[in-house]
Symmetry: C2
Subunit: 458 residues, 2 copies
Amino acid sequence: MTTAQPVPAPGEGAPLRVALLGCGVVGSAVARLMSERQADLRARVGAPLELVGVAVRHLDRPPVPGVDPGLLTTDAEELVTRADVVVELMGGIEPAKGLIQRALKHGASVVTANKALLADHGPELYEEASAQGVDLYYEAAVAGAIPLLRPLGESLAGDHVDRVLGIVNGTTNYVLDQMDRTGADLEVALRQAQELGYAEADPTADVEGFDAAAKAALLASLAFHTRVSASDVHREGIMAVTAEDVAGAAAIDHVIKLLAICERLPTEGGDGIGVRVHPALVPRTHPLASVHGAFNAVFVEARAAGQLMFYGPGAGGDPTASAVLGDLVAVARHKVAGHRGPGESAYANLPVLPMGQVRTRYHINLDVADRPGVLATIAAAFAEHGVSLEGVRQELVGPEFIDPEQDETPQRAEAEGSARLVLVTHSAPDGALAATVEALSSLDTVRNVRAVLRVEGA
Amino acid sequence: MTTAQPVPAPGEGAPLRVALLGCGVVGSAVARLMSERQADLRARVGAPLELVGVAVRHLDRPPVPGVDPGLLTTDAEELVTRADVVVELMGGIEPAKGLIQRALKHGASVVTANKALLADHGPELYEEASAQGVDLYYEAAVAGAIPLLRPLGESLAGDHVDRVLGIVNGTTNYVLDQMDRTGADLEVALRQAQELGYAEADPTADVEGFDAAAKAALLASLAFHTRVSASDVHREGIMAVTAEDVAGAAAIDHVIKLLAICERLPTEGGDGIGVRVHPALVPRTHPLASVHGAFNAVFVEARAAGQLMFYGPGAGGDPTASAVLGDLVAVARHKVAGHRGPGESAYANLPVLPMGQVRTRYHINLDVADRPGVLATIAAAFAEHGVSLEGVRQELVGPEFIDPEQDETPQRAEAEGSARLVLVTHSAPDGALAATVEALSSLDTVRNVRAVLRVEGA
């Protein structure tokens, strides 16, 4: 199929030239939908959208439905100089960054889904866009099809956001969900996710939390009008989550989810913010516990609005393309009207506090010696760090129940019985909680710190 | 507290004059939040917002926190001529409509939460705003604090919406939820809602579905780029829902919810749309079943995005004020930048199809004579109308089980046994389903049509 040259209807703006950088799963969905939905897009923008080129790495590739093969080019540098809107879907830092800068300098508006780039280099790109009077939109960078950045940045612009909490990485959610459903080990669930295309061959960006951390940085920047980069985000991935952790969570009606949490933290010197990504226990009755497979869901708590939830497909070609096309229509409308949308604002400039100052709750699972005074010793360790306990549960485990294959503690052969203690803390600074765990593990009576997980959504 | 005259900072725009029409629950929340959040709003808008007047019905009223009593006026006609942005929160058709027209003619942008006005007279007001080059924003008119109109009109502007389905009226949701939780009659639950302030003294607009129908009209207009007014909406309220209906729903793991449903309906001559508000059975496992009390939730199904859900407080002073302030920031930013946001679009102009052509599923509960051939007769009635059955369940009820106080059918005293039939249809045109029920009720063997409810969300 060749793309006819669009001619504007009476009263309509001149055709807008659109350049596409990258033609993978999302890029080809964007190209196809632009072709299929040409008439609607034209009516909504007020001018025809003309695809003027698609930058690809190699020309010898399978044809893209809806794209004239003559539009493919390997010269992205040249392509961006002859477009009104550049849609960047290559991913990665370079050459994406240089091409976006070049596009902005040539007066093009840019739509991108590149969370890693924006989380590290967003501010300089936003400034360039502002200086050129053009738009840089990136709704697709967070939570795929779910409209989240526009609601945060615009609908809630009159409110005071206190917290953003959600599941923003579909791959890890798929893996943890599989572990919960089937009892599988992480390695097995991850391999399955790779076979089904939910995880990449090198899953590092997802399972180590880099992807979620980049998204958390973008969400926090918008929510708190502050520059937050990926390196400001406390990040823990899911690789340490065991089948035993998942089973232990299930036993107390919880599930383990990888959460991105951005929150306002009042301090004596004024508000700060905390931004973190880590696995956490979530009660099974909490709506986030019912987010299955590769879906995403994000809660936003704002002072006047109360608690809002957004839910939908967090990834995939068509859902991500939907968000890209929404941005494309927006920036194209602005081009037609001769102005730009609201830019990024970082006026609040709140300090990002270290993880140690963020208040969290811990769920701690210990093997302890079953003798008098143990609980008192342990309770004292919490008290010393100013951490108060919400609950303690003790399960008696005789040495005969400890499987030597599973339990590597040197004390396993001792004749003395073991007890298992499950402790849940009240909320306390994460630093105090971590120090408490450190102190516990050096106690004589503590044989093994089986699991430490933060608890959220209670 | 008196409002100081704001002076713009260097590089900032001149103060924007804001007039408030109405100072009830939402209006006073807006005034208070404007005062409390002055510095943030100023930074986000790029200019100070100056409240220049609050139009009220009577001057002898309790003071409004954050509002200089000297700003109160009964002369709304004069007030709107000296504002850059008019926030209309009076409700009702007149004088709201005239005042909005007057404000627009004087070059003010308008923010309103007036769903009834927009559902009946939106198009002429949108045209006036467009002609004057100003904004008319109304996020607060649907689903309170939940960002819904901006995501529908902007984030999904590049997608193809097939369906919008949700709970958009908090009062009726509170009443139905109470009936489900306590087994109460509608009258009892409604009285309780009135006592708690969830329902007004005259609850007609809510319980008869007028409020939900106005919101459905606004949602359909945005989703389908078509003018839909309240009178286009098929509307059934909740007054006919009995405690027995709710108990019957619970027995089959369903709940009854008042739903607003806007959908694209393919016909031979092209797409049409259906817009309706009515009580429906929803499976208890469906996310809408867990929307309790006065909360709202809306599902949007779009071709590329897939299924999205938005959830949050659907009403209340502060949540609604949050949406109003979001719009206020948006239109004020546009004023500062000297342009307007995207206007309403009705280019698709799809026909609104009558309810008879909308495809639905029925759940029908019948008392029938317990004799051979009854099921065959009933099945034949369905077949005659081209309706196919998904399931039939028969419960034997001897005459001794029929409580004469409860059952008013003249046949109750007959010696012949009764059976109860519960039938669920496949999806079929609503007209064919209604005609089938009509036919059933005239059958000899059908003693009583106990309940007919549509089923959604299966």
